[in-house]
Structure formats: structure tokens, C-alpha cells
């Protein structure tokens, strides 16, 4: 087409189109900019700026208005004014001084200038000389130049002297002026100091809320486009390259932008106090937040800054970011995109209204809702324990820890393995059964790619159960365990929702036969074991047995209706144990044997050996085990009924089951044939599976009776196998069987499409909740109440809101096919997922998980743990894998739980919190009997703890309310209020166990602290007045109450008869000794009514536990130095006390030996084979045998104990034997000049070197015959005899029970 002049389109039209599109473009651009300008996070950042400035203003106001500030300012202003007036009054003097200074200054300047010019001349002379040397000038020339230099140098020297003189003049003048101005300068400095904080705040305020040009600049910086260049408002991004995240198929660095909105999250003030404490202010708007000092999300500071976010905490923000713990989409910058998760459907509704929230299905790891927040902790904290018990942070994840403990207690891992390792790489908490045979354990130990499980089966061994129970009782028990014992942990396998529906005839018919076959299998396969028997003709006394049962420690783990105030739950409740045992002699023999030696029956039992050996009381022979057995069994056996099957149906049903199981290995026709012929087609030796029970030894048909037994055995074995009973119990022929359940180590990431909710909606509709409604109705009601205002308006009462909203959350999640909801219902009613499925499933395909007695709170705790199992550990450096003391503590805590050490022993003393008037507490002073050295030792071993908590409590004093500071201390109650006194006079008396620092005043342990009842912090238990209950020691406390109600015992004595608190055990015992003692405990304390049992623990466990106590008290372990055994130490001591040793021609240690053999010690302590003389064995106080002290006690502890026993154990009967205020008398006056202080030290050293002394003495004279070994003439004659320590190791204690081998002491 030829070119033309005409336009292709009408220009005018084109112009219009362009104009319109340009306008649209412009508007779109503006709209884009506006939208960008008003993104959610910019709003939050602007609001936060306002919050900050308002907070600063409030702070400035409060400082300026505080009376201290006002008075100080007034004072300083007055001082300033006075100083000015004073200066005015001495004006001539000031002027003169100033003038003098000015003149001195001028002169100084002058000479300073002068010195610079003469130095230049001197330098030129030096250069001339140097040049002449370079140019090989003649000697004369050089000499001349040198002379010239010397002259110039002389001038410089003079000038410099002048400068120094003038400088001194100037300084003097300056000092004079300064002295005159001093009062004014001080006042000014004071004002500056007073205003420092204010100035800082004002500067900060000016930055936040600038005025003038700065404000203009700030506004400009926030403009579109310009805001691309370091705007004050910007997205805050934490980049975490090593803390990667899985996105689809790729692992990539994590970007957390959470702080773009959560602006105040890491703001803390000095002392790690949140600047913007989280909370919900009652009033609306920013100013109310400042007023009430409560800041809601996203403005608040993260709670617990000691633990999270701050640089000093273990989880600094820069290293951890946010989403590793919280999950969610870190890169999202809007509320919705961040994948927040509401805590319940009601919250979801409010979020929807406020933030247009909707759940984002496309993000794999949405944020954890608040209720499950703790679940992510186990990504890194595989040992879990530190989340429940920690010396600094306490219980940081209590719900998770509860879930973990429930799983351990109920033995979930028996069926559901929780594998903590991928090969040897840690991936999460490890909860697996230990190898069931020694061969398997050895195999795993030899394989470097495997790590063995450590958990014991939680149920008792059933290998010998036929010796204990009748088949009828087994049936009765298995059918419904909690019918016999409501507190049992054994779950219910029968009569669940997929077996007992009204129209489920199959379930009704088969269950009794399954149960009977289990009972038959267990009884028929019972193996023999070695039973202990009481002496022939011994007549057990049940009344005495009851007393022994209570005193010998049974109640530390078990409860019994005869002792209603004792509530231990570690072991089974024993009130009905008599009814279930095999009747007659058999049952008695079982109980007797069990309590004498539990491991003979069940090698992995946690029940310890209590050393219930027969003993004599006068002429009376007592067998405590027999008496206790008689007490437990005195009500006699009962008859139990196995579940009934209609007559004549049993055999048919049994055949039905045999056929059902056989059909899995044989064809149906073959199975029929077997049943008809009573003969199995394969030879017994060739059968691998359970069918072996159906084959006779010779392969021939058997008679009716035998066939009956064989069929029952077969069905029993198959049923046990099907229900996985061996996950909790040791059962013959199931030694190598594998757990039957789903593994749980990555269940928290389980593909939700693989969950099978089946007809759960229908089930929940049909099945009624506790309140009579269906689940759906229950949630509808709850939502209605929540919308109506919840607890605040009385729609919910008590903790209803918490409970109902929890149900609503899980129900909602379940209907959306979430993991949490699925798990919730699975734990509430495991078989409910079989609803209307049993119709189309084989009987053996039905769900098998038994029903546990969990309440909804328990379920949530378990869910928190299980949902945290994701097998997705972050990089190694993020895993919490402590070494040294921290590790020892964690491992030890686990064992304290495992062996229920806390049943008897207090691990943490109870705490008492009460309001004091600071003037009421006077610091402790040394009593006349106390040594200054003992005070130093006390402060070293028990460093003072700050007693003032910082909290305040309102107390009525003389009719008026007064706000008093609260003080706390660890201690034991020693006297309760007299109920007869008027309430305001009721008074508790406590012994403090720790050294306290009360506002700088030191209060020694064992101080009697009296607390009036109204002063106790609210919430203290009324009985004991403890604000924080003790950790452990329930039995000890129970026993003390029991013993101290008898006439002759006060609480101090009763405590000495009970298991001792293990408070500060680490500073006391040597770790190797404790290890030996745990392995092989011997009778140490003579006053206790029971003794330490021997636990079924491995050497490694004993070592761990021994280390634990040292680690808790920051003492070295596993070995300790005992410098007091060092020959150098001993010769130094000998030298020091030489003047006392001379007259006896003795050495230091032997002299000490004589002191501790003196009457003071041996009155109460046995020693060297010589027993204490006993007047009345029930009343006499006897201390531990002193020969153990050497290996058992740490020297510093022993020293303090000798100085002042009450500081260590306030209730002890051990007197202060070496008081400072007295000098030794009698025989003891002969040693060390009768100086008690030296005698105490020498006694300690002799005790520590006990073995050495015994060895030396044994050569000359038996210690048992006389009080002393023959002293050696010279101290140094010992040093040639080899290491005393190696000899010490060979000494064994030599009293009644089996002895430990003494550990080394280095």
C-alpha cells in the first residue's frame, strides 16, 4: 500500500484514548502507591512510634513529678544559688584570681611560642651536622657544627625550663580559681547527673517525635519512592542461613519478617525487664496501653526475656528468629499471610472480623495455636527433661512435659515406637523399649549404626503369673482392669465401642473366648521361679505387719486404705491385693517372695529390694516380710468370675476364632480339616508361627481335652499378639516380637490425607458427651457462650471456658481433617473410628488400640508432645545437647523419676513466703561457741541467697493495711499454730535450711523463724504453711507426722528417723562413695526406722545419679580431691601444731585420732568395730559409724559439720562438740593444749585419714581393744610406706550387711 498523508487512525480519537489510558495509568500508580503506603505493618510501626513517644513522655513526667526528683532538684538549685551568691560576695577575690590566671596563661603562651622557635634553630643545627657527616666534611668542620648544635641545645634547655615554671604558675592559678568555684561546679555536676536519665529520654523522644526540620525530613523519608532509601518505616527481616526450612522439595534459608509488625517484641530495659509487657489493657487505644502498662500483640515484648530473644538468653533473636519455634510463614508480611493459627474457633471468628483471617491450607507448617505452642520445643530439646525441671528457668514447657511423662507412665512406646535416631543422628526424643534379650542388647551394642532403646516395659512380667493369680482372676482383670482397681494404668481392651454395639453379635460372642484364651495361655505357659519362704514355723503377725508396712517404706510408692492420708501413686494401690492372690499358701508364698526379692520374680521390676530380712527384738524373732504379707492378705481371697459365654457356645466360638486365625496361613478348607481331625498338617518342629500351639509333639491327633487346651493356647497366643500385650508385659514366646502400633517419631508431620477419620462425624453425632449433648451441640453451645462474653459475663463458670474452647478447637480441627483433632478423638475413644466400619471389616481387622483413662487435659498434653514429633531437627549447633553438669542434671532427673527417689527424699526443700518488716530481721551473729572460720566455710558451702523476692503483700498491722516486702526461704516446719490461740496470734515456727541475705543482713541456717499466720503469702497450704511445696519427700513427711504424734518424739527426733532430705547432698558426699552406696546400700543411719533399699539400677545409672547430686550443687564430679590426705598437708599441719605434739612424742594424725576416739564421739558413734553402748534402742540416738566418714564425706562439709552441725541439718541431734567458748576438759585437755578449735580440725583430718591410721595402728594393737592405735614416734616415718590412699581403698566396713567396695578418691 502506497504511503499517504492521511493517518491510519483518527488523531483526535487516538489522543482521547491516550489521554484516558494515561489518566488510568496515573490513577493506578497512585492507587498502588497508596496501597503500599498503607500496608498493615506500616500502620503498626506508626502506632508503635506513638506508643514509644507516649511512654517516654509518661516516664519523663513521672520522673519530673517524683518527690525524690523534686527535692533533689530543689536542693541542688538552692546550692547553686547559694554558691553564686557566695561568689558574688567575694567578687574582688574571684576577679583577682581570674586576672592572675589570665596573666599566667598569657606568660605560658609566650614561653611556649618561644620554645618552639628555639627548637627549630636547634633542629637546623642537628641537620647541618648530619649533612656534614654525609658529605664527608672535615673533622674541624664537624667539630664546629657539633659545637653550634650544643649551643642551640643549651638555649632549648633553658627555654624548656622556663615553660615548666610558667606551667606551674598557670596550674596554681587554675587551682585557685577552681577552689573558689568548687561549690558552684559541684551543684552543676549534681544537676547534670540528676538529669542524665531525663536527657536520655528527651533525646530519644526527640528522635521518635521530631520537631522542625527533623520532622520535615522524617516525613519526606516516608514518601513513596523516597521510602526506598532507608525510610524509618521498613520491613524488618531476620535472615537465618543455617536454620533452614523445607519448602516443597528444597531446603532454604529462613527469612522471618515477623518483627515488621511485632515491633516491640525484643524491647527490654536494663535487667531484662520487658519494656512493653504483654497484656490486654481494659481501656481502648494507645494511651490506655501506656497508662495500664499492658501492650497487646503486636506491640508487646516477648514474655520471659531471660529465656527468649535477648542476647543473654539461650535463644537470642538474631540466632533463632521466630518461626523455628512458632512455625508459620515467616516471609509473610500480613496477618493472614503469616499463617497465624487461632486458639479456638471463637478466636478464629474475631480474627476474621478484625484481620480478614482465613486459614491458609497451602502452607505446610502453620503457626502453632497457643494451646500447642510448647510442642515445637522438642525439635531441639530431645531430652525433654530440661523443659520441665531447670535450675534457672523452672518449667518452661509444663504441658509438653506432662505429656511426655504421661507417655512414659502409660508406656505408649510399648506399641508406638518413638525413634529418636536416624541411624545415630539424633532426630527427636527417643522413647523405645530396651532390648528384650541379652543377645539382642549385645548385638545392638556391637553395631555402630544402632543405638539401643532404654525404656522398660511398664507392666509387670507375666512369665510366672500363674504362681500369683488364678485364670479366673486374670480373665476378670483383663476384661475391665479398672473395675478391680480404679487407679490402674492398664487400659481397657474389651467392651469398647467397636465391640459392644447392640447389634454387634460377633463382638459379643468372641470377646469372652478371647479373654478366656488369654488367661489360659498365661496360666499354661507360666514358668517356675525361685521363691523365698519364711522360716519354718514362723507365725506372721498382721498387726505388726501393718506397722512395718507403714514404716519400712512401702507407702513411699504404694497406697493402702489402712493409711488414708498417704497417697503415693508410683506403685499400684494395694488395698485389694488380698482378694486377687491365689488362695492359701500359694498366695502368701508369692507375696512373701515378692517383697523379699522382687527381682527374682521380675528382673526388670522397679520395685527395690527393701532388705526385709528377719531380725531379733530381744528374744523375739521377727520376719518383717512375712508380717507385711500377712497384713496385706489378712482379708483373704475372693472368687472372681470370668466373662460368661452362653452354655454350649464356647467351643463353637473357639473354633470360629481358630478358623479365623488359621485362615491367614492355611486355606479355609485346610483349616476346617484341622479342626475336624485335631491334627495339624505340618510337623511341630517346622512351624515358625503361633500355629505351633496346635501341633502335637508327635504330629498325631490328640484327645478332646488336649485339643481344647491347644486351641485355647493358640487363640490366646494369637490374641496376645493381636493386641500387643507384650508391649507392656514380659510374656513367654514374645521375646522378639515387634511393637504393633504406628511409629510416632514423625507423626507431627503426618500427611493429613493419610488420616482416616472414617465415620467420626456420625459417631460424634450419635455418641453423647458427658453433659448429655452430642459433640456438635456441645461446641455450638460453647460458641454461643463465648460470643456472649464468656467467663467475663458469666456465660462460662470456673474453668469451663478453657475446657469447652479446648473441645471446640479439637472438634473443629477434626472436622477439617487436622492431625490435632484426629489425635484428640483417638485418645478420647480409640475405637470410635470403627463406627459403622465393623460391618464391612474382618473381626481381626478391627481397631485394637485400648482405651486409656485420659481426661481431655491429659489428651491435650499428650497431643502437645506427639504433634511436636516431626523428625526434622535443625542444624546440629541448634540442638540442645549439654555436656558436663547440665547433662548430669538432666540424666539424673530422669532417674529420680524412674526410681521414685522423690517418694522418700525431699530433693528441694519447701519454701515459705511471708511478709516482713525489714527491721524485724536482724542479721545472725556468731554465738560464743562458733568460730569465724566456720562462718567462712558456711558462706562457701551454702552461699547466701537473696531472701527478698521483690513482691509485696498487704498485711493488716494494728488495724491498718500495710504493704510489706515478701521474704522467702527454704525450711521445714517445726511448730504449728495452736488452734486455741486467736487468729492474729497463730504462729508457725520454721527452721531455715539455707543461708539468707535479707537486704544485706546475713541470716545463718537453722535460725528459728516465726511467722504469724496472716503474714504468710496467700495460697500457702494451711497444714504446713508452705508456699512452695517440697519436691518429693511425701513419705518422709508422712512418717514424721506419724512418729511425732507418739509421746516420746518431737519433730526433730522424728525427722532423724525418716528418710533425710537430699538438700545440698552434693556438698556432702563424695561421688564415688554415693555410686557404691546406690549400687550396694548398707545400713548407714542407725536412727531411721527404715533403710535405703537396693534399686534395680545399672552401674551406669548409679554413676549418673551420683554425678547428679554433685552437679546440682556445682561440685566437682565424678572424682574429688581430698587434699587433707596429701603428705605435704599433713606435714604442714604437724609443723604448725608441733608445740602441742612434743610432750606426747606423737604425730599430728595420731593426736587427732585420740581426740575423735574421745568420749565425745564414741558416745553416739560406732567406730572401728566397737559398737555404741545402747541403753534403750528405741530412744537412743546413734550416729553413723565413723569408719564410713573417710570415703563418704567431703572434707569441707565434714569440717563445717564438726564446727556447727545445726547449720547443715537443723534438726540433728549431733551437738556442737568443739565450741569455741569452751576449752576441752578431762582427757581431751591433754591434746592440742585443750584448744577446741584445733581439736576440731585434727578430728576432721584424722577422720579423713581413717584408713591410714587404722592400718598403722593395726600393726601394734587392735583398735577394738583400746581407744587408740599406738602413736608413731615421727610424722615423716609414714611417707616411705607408699600411698595411704591405695591402702585406704582396701579397707572395708565390717558391720552386718553386705559391704560396698570403696571407690577411689581421686
Amino acid at each position: 500500500m502506497p504511503a499517504t498523508e492521511s493517518n491510519f487512525r483518527d488523531v483526535k480519537k487516538v489522543h482521547v484514548v491516550f489521554a484516558v489510558t494515561a489518566v488510568i495509568m496515573l490513577l493506578t500508580t497512585l492507587w498502588m502507591m497508596a496501597a503500599d503506603q498503607s500496608r498493615e505493618w506500616t500502620g503498626y510501626q506508626r502506632s508503635f512510634e506513638k506508643l514509644q513517644s507516649q511512654k517516654q513522655i509518661a516516664a519523663i513526667n513521672s520522673i519530673e513529678k517524683s518527690p525524690q526528683y523534686e527535692t533533689s532538684k530543689e536542693e541542688l538549685d538552692a546550692k547553686k544559688k547559694a554558691a553564686k551568691e557566695h561568689l558574688e560576695s567575694i567578687k574582688p577575690q574571684v576577679d583577682a584570681a581570674n586576672k592572675k590566671l589570665a596573666e599566667a596563661d598569657r606568660l605560658f603562651d609566650q614561653v611556649s611560642r618561644n620554645v618552639r622557635s628555639v627548637r627549630a634553630y636547634r633542629d637546623k643545627a642537628r641537620a647541618d651536622f648530619d649533612l656534614a657527616v654525609r658529605d664527608n666534611a672535615s673533622q674541624d668542620e664537624l667539630k664546629r657544627l657539633q659545637k653550634e648544635f650544643n649551643e642551640k641545645q643549651a638555649i632549648v634547655d633553658t627555654a624548656e625550663l622556663d615553660v615548666q615554671a610558667k606551667k606551674a604558675d598557670k596550674d596554681a592559678a587554675q587551682a585557685e580559681v577552681k577552689t573558689l568555684n568548687k561549690s558552684l561546679d559541684d551543684a552543676n555536676a549534681g544537676l547534670t547527673k540528676l538529669n542524665t536519665d531525663l536527657d536520655l529520654r528527651e533525646k530519644a523522644l526527640a528522635k521518635l517525635d521530631p520537631t522542625g526540620f527533623s520532622a520535615f525530613k522524617k516525613t519526606i523519608m516516608e514518601w513513596p519512592i523516597i521510602n526506598g532509601f532507608n525510610s524509618p518505616l521498613k520491613i524488618t527481616q531476620d535472615w537465618l542461613p543455617t536454620l533452614t526450612i523445607q519448602l516443597g522439595m528444597a531446603r532454604t534459608a529462613r527469612f522471618d519478617r515477623c518483627r515488621s509488625c511485632h515491633v516491640g517484641i525484643d524491647r527490654v530495659e536494663a535487667g531484662n525487664i520487658p519494656s512493653f509487657p504483654m497484656g490486654h489493657p481494659k481501656g481502648e487505644g494507645l494511651s490506655n496501653m501506656v497508662l495500664e502498662n499492658k501492650y497487646p500483640n503486636p506491640f508487646g515484648t516477648h514474655p520471659n526475656p531471660d529465656l527468649y530473644l535477648t542476647g543473654a538468653s539461650p535463644h537470642p533473636l538474631q540466632r533463632f528468629g521466630c518461626t523455628i519455634c512458632h512455625d508459620g510463614q515467616g516471609s509473610g508480611t500480613s496477618f493472614k499471610d503469616a499463617s497465624h493459627t487461632p486458639n479456638d474457633p471463637y478466636t478464629s471468628e474475631t480474627w476474621h472480623e478484625k484481620h480478614h483471617y482465613a486459614s491458609n491450607h497451602f502452607w505446610d507448617t502453620p503457626m502453632q495455636p497457643e494451646r500447642l505452642r510448647e510442642s515445637t520445643c522438642i525439635k531441639c530439646h530431645h531430652s525433654v527433661v530440661e523443659l520441665g525441671v531447670h535450675p534457672t528457668f523452672g518449667a518452661s514447657a509444663p504441658k509438653l512435659y506432662k505429656g511426655y511423662n504421661l507417655i512414659k507412665e502409660y508406656g505408649c512406646f510399648g506399641c508406638h515406637e518413638i525413634q529418636g535416631f536416624d541411624g545415630t543422628r539424633p532426630i527427636g526424643p527417643d522413647l523405645r523399649l530396651e532390648p528384650s534379650t541379652e543377645a539382642e542388647a549385645a548385638k545392638i551394642a556391637a553395631d555402630p549404626t544402632q543405638i539401643a532403646g532404654t525404656m522398660r516395659k511398664v507392666g509387670p512380667s507375666l512369665r510366672h503369673v500363674g504362681k500369683k493369680l488364678t485364670p479366673e482372676f486374670i480373665s476378670y482383670w483383663v476384661e475391665k482392669p479398672d473395675r478391680f482397681r480404679p487407679t490402674t494404668r492398664m487400659p481397657q481392651f474389651f467392651h469398647n465401642s467397636n465391640q459392644d454395639q447392640p447389634d454387634d453379635l460377633l463382638g459379643k460372642r468372641l470377646q469372652p473366648v478371647e479373654i478366656a484364651s488369654i488367661a489360659h495361655y498365661l496360666s499354661a505357659n507360666t514358668e517356675d521361679y525361685r521363691q523365698a519362704r519364711p522360716a519354718e514355723g514362723y507365725e506372721p503377725d498382721a498387726t505388726r505387719g501393718k506397722d512395718l508396712f507403714s514404716k519400712r517404706g512401702c507407702l513411699a510408692c504404694h497406697s493402702h486404705e489402712a493409711f488414708p492420708d498417704s497417697k503415693a501413686t508410683f506403685g499400684p494401690e494395694l488395698s485389694r491385693v488380698h482378694s486377687k492372690m491365689r488362695p492359701g499358701e500359694e498366695g502368701f508364698a508369692w507375696v512373701y517372695s515378692w517383697i523379699r526379692d522382687p527381682q527374682a520374680y521380675h528382673p526388670r521390676s522397679k520395685m527395690p529390694n527393701l532388705f526385709l530380712e528377719p531380725y531379733k527384738e530381744g528374744k523375739l524373732e521377727i520376719d518383717p516380710a512375712a508380717d507385711i504379707a500377712a497384713f496385706l492378705l489378712q482379708k483373704g481371697p475372693e472368687k472372681f468370675q470370668a466373662p460368661a459365654t452362653p452354655k454350649g457356645e464356647f467351643n463353637g466360638t473357639l473354633d470360629e476364632l481358630v478358623k479365623l486365625f488359621l485362615a491367614k496361613t492355611l486355606s479355609t478348607a485346610d483349616a476346617d480339616k484341622v479342626l475336624a481331625s485335631r491334627q495339624y498338617p505340618i510337623a511341630k518342629s517346622k512351624i515358625r508361627g503361633d500355629e505351633v500351639e496346635l501341633a502335637s509333639a508327635d504330629g498325631k491327633p490328640v484327645d478332646e481335652k488336649q485339643w481344647q487346651a491347644m486351641r485355647l493356647n493358640y487363640v490366646g497366643r494369637r490374641t496376645i499378639s493381636r493386641y500387643g500385650c507384650y508391649g507392656c508385659h514380659d510374656i513367654p514366646n514374645f521375646e522378639t516380637a515387634r511393637p504393633i502400633g504406628t511409629t510416632l517419631q514423625d507423626w507431627g508431620r503426618k500427611d493429613t490425607s493419610r488420616l482416616a477419620p472414617e465415620h467420626i462425624d456420625e459417631w460424634l453425632e450419635k455418641n453423647k458427651e458427658a453433659n448429655g449433648m452430642s459433640m456438635h451441640e456441645r461446641v455450638v453451645e460453647a460458641m454461643k457462650a463465648a460470643r456472649g462474653g464468656g467467663t467475663a459475663t458469666g456465660e462460662f463458670k470456673g474453668d469451663e471456658q478453657e475446657r469447652e474452647m479446648r473441645a471446640a478447637y479439637y472438634y473443629n480441627d477434626l472436622t477439617h481433617h487436622g492431625r490435632a483433632g484426629f489425635l484428640w478423638q483417638k485418645l478420647r475413644d480409640p475405637r470410635s473410628y470403627d463406627y459403622l466400619k465393623t460391618e464391612t471389616k474382618g473381626y481381626d481387622e478391627r481397631l485394637r488400640m485400648p482405651k486409656f483413662p485420659f481426661n481431655e487435659e491429659d489428651v491435650e498434653a499428650i497431643s502437645t508432645f506427639v504433634l511436636g514429633l516431626v523428625a526434622d531437627p535443625p542444624a546440629k549447633e541448634y540442638l540442645y545437647r549439654p555436656e558436663g553438669p547440665a547433662k548430669a542434671r538432666i540424666e539424673g532427673e530422669r532417674l529420680l523419676d524412674r526410681y521414685n527417689c522423690v517418694g522418700c527424699h525431699m530433693i528441694d526443700m519447701p519454701e515459705i513466703h511471708y511478709a516482713i518488716e525489714p527491721s524485724e530481721i536482724t542479721g545472725s551473729v556468731l554465738q560464743p561457741g562458733d568460730y569465724p572460720a566456720s562462718r567462712d566455710l558456711l558462706l562457701k558451702l551454702k552461699p547466701p541467697r537473696k531472701a527478698i523476692t521483690g513482691q509485696k503483700q498487704t498485711v493488716k498491722l494494728q488495724g491498718a493495711d500495710k504493704l510489706l516486702p515478701v521474704m522467702r526461704f527454704h525450711g521445714l516446719i517445726m511448730n504449728r499454730p495452736d488452734a486455741g490461740d486467736p487468729p492474729e496470734d497463730q504462729e508457725y515456727a520454721y527452721d531455715s535450711w539455707e543461708t539468707l541475705d535479707v537486704d544485706g543482713k546475713i541470716v545463718f541456717p537453722a535460725s528459728r523463724l516465726l511467722v504469724k499466720k496472716p503474714r504468710l503469702a496467700p495460697g500457702s497450704t494451711p497444714q504446713d504453711g508452705y508456699s512452695v511445696p517440697p519436691r518429693g519427700g511425701d513419705f518422709a513427711q508422712w512418717l514424721v507426722e506419724k512418729l511425732s504424734t507418739t509421746r516420746d518424739l518431737n519433730r526433730q527426733l522424728a525427722w532423724q528417723m525418716a528418710p533425710p532430705p537430699l538438700y545440698k547432698e552434693g556438698i556432702k558426699v563424695q561421688t564415688p562413695w554415693l555410686y557404691q552406696f546406690l549400687r550396694e546400700p548398707y545400713r548407714l543411719r542407725q536412727t531411721t526406722v527404715l533403710r535405703m533399699p537396693r534399686f534395680n539400677m545399672s552401674a551406669e545409672e548409679a554413676q549418673t545419679l551420683a554425678n547428679y547430686f554433685a552437679a546440682v550443687d556445682n561440685e566437682p564430679f565424678p572424682y574429688q580431691k581430698v587434699p587433707e590426705r596429701d603428705p605435704d598437708y599433713l606435714s604442714a599441719q604437724t609443723t604448725q601444731y608441733e608445740k602441742y605434739l612434743g610432750p606426747h612424742n606423737a604425730d599430728y594424725l595420731n593426736e587427732g585420732w585420740k581426740v575423735f576416739n574421745g568420749a565425745a564421739c564414741i558416745n553416739c558413734h560406732s567406730l572401728g568395730g566397737r559398737e555404741v553402748k545402747v541403753g534403750d534402742p528405741k530412744k537412743d540416738i546413734r550416729g553413723p559409724n565413723l569408719e564410713y566418714a573417710s570415703d563418704r564425706l567431703r572434707p569441707d562439709w565434714l569440717m563445717l559439720w564438726l564446727y556447727s552441725p545445726r547449720w547443715i541439718t537443723p534438726y540433728t541431734s549431733m551437738p556442737q562438740v568443739f565450741p569455741k567458748s569452751q576449752s576441752a576438759s578431762g582427757d581431751l585437755a591433754n591434746y592440742f593444749g585443750g584448744d577446741n578449735g584445733i581439736q576440731a580440725i585434727a578430728t576432721r583430718d584424722a577422720l579423713v585419714n581413717y584408713h591410714r591410721l587404722m592400718e598403722e595402728g593395726a600393726n601394734k594393737k587392735s583398735v577394738a581393744e583400746g581407744a587408740t592405735p599406738t602413736p608413731k614416734p615421727e610424722a615423716n616415718s609414714r611417707s616411705g610406706e607408699g600411698s595411704p590412699r591405695s591402702r585406704g581403698r582396701q579397707r572395708r566396713p565390717s558391720a552386718s550387711s553386705e559391704r560396698p567396695t570403696t571407690g577411689g578418691s581421686e
Binding site: E987, R1008, C1164, V1174, G1175, I1181, S1213, Q1216, Q1222
Partner: protein
Amino acid sequence: MRVTAKTSLTFVAPAAVLALAATVAGLSGCGGAQGVTTGASAPTAITIRHGKEKGEAVPVAAKGGGNPAGGGPVAAAGFGTLKGKVVMQGTPKPLESLTAEAETKAPICAKAGIPNEKLVLGEGNGVANVFIFLAKAPPGVSVPPPPGEPVKFDQKDCRFLPHALIIRADQGLRLLNSDGVTHNTHIYATRSDPFNQAIPPHDAKGLEYQFQKSEAKPIEVKCDIHSWMRAYQLPLDHPWGAVTSPNGEFEIKNVPAGTYKFQVWHEAAGGGGYLDRNLEVTIKPNEVTTKDIPYDVSKLEL
């Protein structure tokens, strides 16, 4: 059987008061030897000695300069005396002597014999070692200061002397040991820091212990080495209390006139040792009020 107190019994002379107190301290009631003789040098007097020393039965507060508190003088109602006798009704079962026990533990202790002092009956079934005292000083009454001298508390023949003792809380307690063996005096105070220190043999100088606080009822003193040794002490923050003599008699002087509830306590009584927590007595000025306290043997836990 019921024996009432001999109302005619009055002690006026200070020496006689001392004698009474010393006898309280010394008698075992089971035919044991009298350990402490009377004499002005034995300041084991434990009751109301103050004021009597000066030989005047006048209100304490009115004494010139005698009262450091110097507070408002007591109402003119004046002061009276309470006296009486505690008598056992019925026959308690005999107590076993503790000598055999002592013989096993330390023969040296058993030489003088160890009577069981849990219940000591005197003439006319009077009960010794009963504490009669006011729980608190009457409000508004200025309390006279304690005697300056400490009370002596001895350990002799492996027994504590005296067995029952009332002391002022702010008064010293001098602990002695007349025996040839070490004793540890373990004072199980409930409101003061407990004391437990070994006292070496033949310690005539002894050492001094001071209660910090008064107690609501008598506390135990024991020797942990010789478990039969036992005594009871009651520190009070006022002087209005007494321990019965071997014959069961007691006297409390200079009690401000008024009506009071006295506490009556004995170590063998059940229910925390109280025989009576509300023994109501009206004291009239310058009069001797007599109150006999009979109690039944069933109240004892022996």
C-alpha cells in the same frame, strides 16, 4: 479420795521462797536424794523472787526507779497472791525406774539411781512439777524486769536439775555439768533457736544460754547421749507463773488484781500436756487467793 490444799501454808521470808524453789529443783519424789540444799547462794529460785528480795509486797511498778519501762503505773487495784495445791485423784500405775537403762548405757550414771520423773507425787498425793502460769502478761500492766542473775541448770547423776523450771525469756540460763561424763544439753525450743552443745565433765563454770522468745508451753530439754535425761523449761516474758513443789504446792505473788485464765500444764498429761487451759481465778488486791486443782488420774498418759 480428795485432798485439798493446806490454806494455812504461807511463806513470807525470802529465804523460805528460795527453799521452796530449791526443793522443787532437788526432789525426785521417788525417794531420790535431795540434790540441792537450801541456801541463799543457790539462785535456783524461779518464781516471783523479784520484789520479794526487797521484802516488800508492793506493786512493782510503783517502786521508785525499779522499773525501767517507767510506764503508767498499774491501776490502784493493787496486787494479790495466788496459791494452792495440785492434787492427783486416783492411783496411777507405778512407773519403772530408769536405773536399768542407765546401767546399760553408762554405769557411772546409774550409781545414784535414776528415778522416773514423769510423775512425781508428794505428800497427800500432791503433784510436783506442774506448771501454773499466765499465757501472756495482763494488758496494761508494766512487767518488772527479770532478775539480773542467770538461772542455774545443772546435770548431776545423769539427771537434769531442776526437772521443771520457769524462767524469764530475757534472763540467762547457766548450763552446768556436775557429772564426770559429757552431756549434751539439747534445748528443744520452739520459738527460740534451739541449743545443742556438749558440756564437758565437771564444768562448774558452765555456759550461758539465752532464750530469745517466750514459749506458749513448757519445752523439752534432753541429753541425746543419755536418752532418759529429760527436763521441762518454760521461758515467759512476765513473772506470773510457778512450778509446784514436791508436795504439789505453788504460790504466785504480786499478781495484779483482776480475773485471769491460768494455764495448768504437766508433762504426763494428755492433749499436749494441758491439764487446764482456762483455770479462771480472780485475784483481789492484797489478799491471798487459794485455788486447789484436783485432777483425775485418767488425764495422764503414762
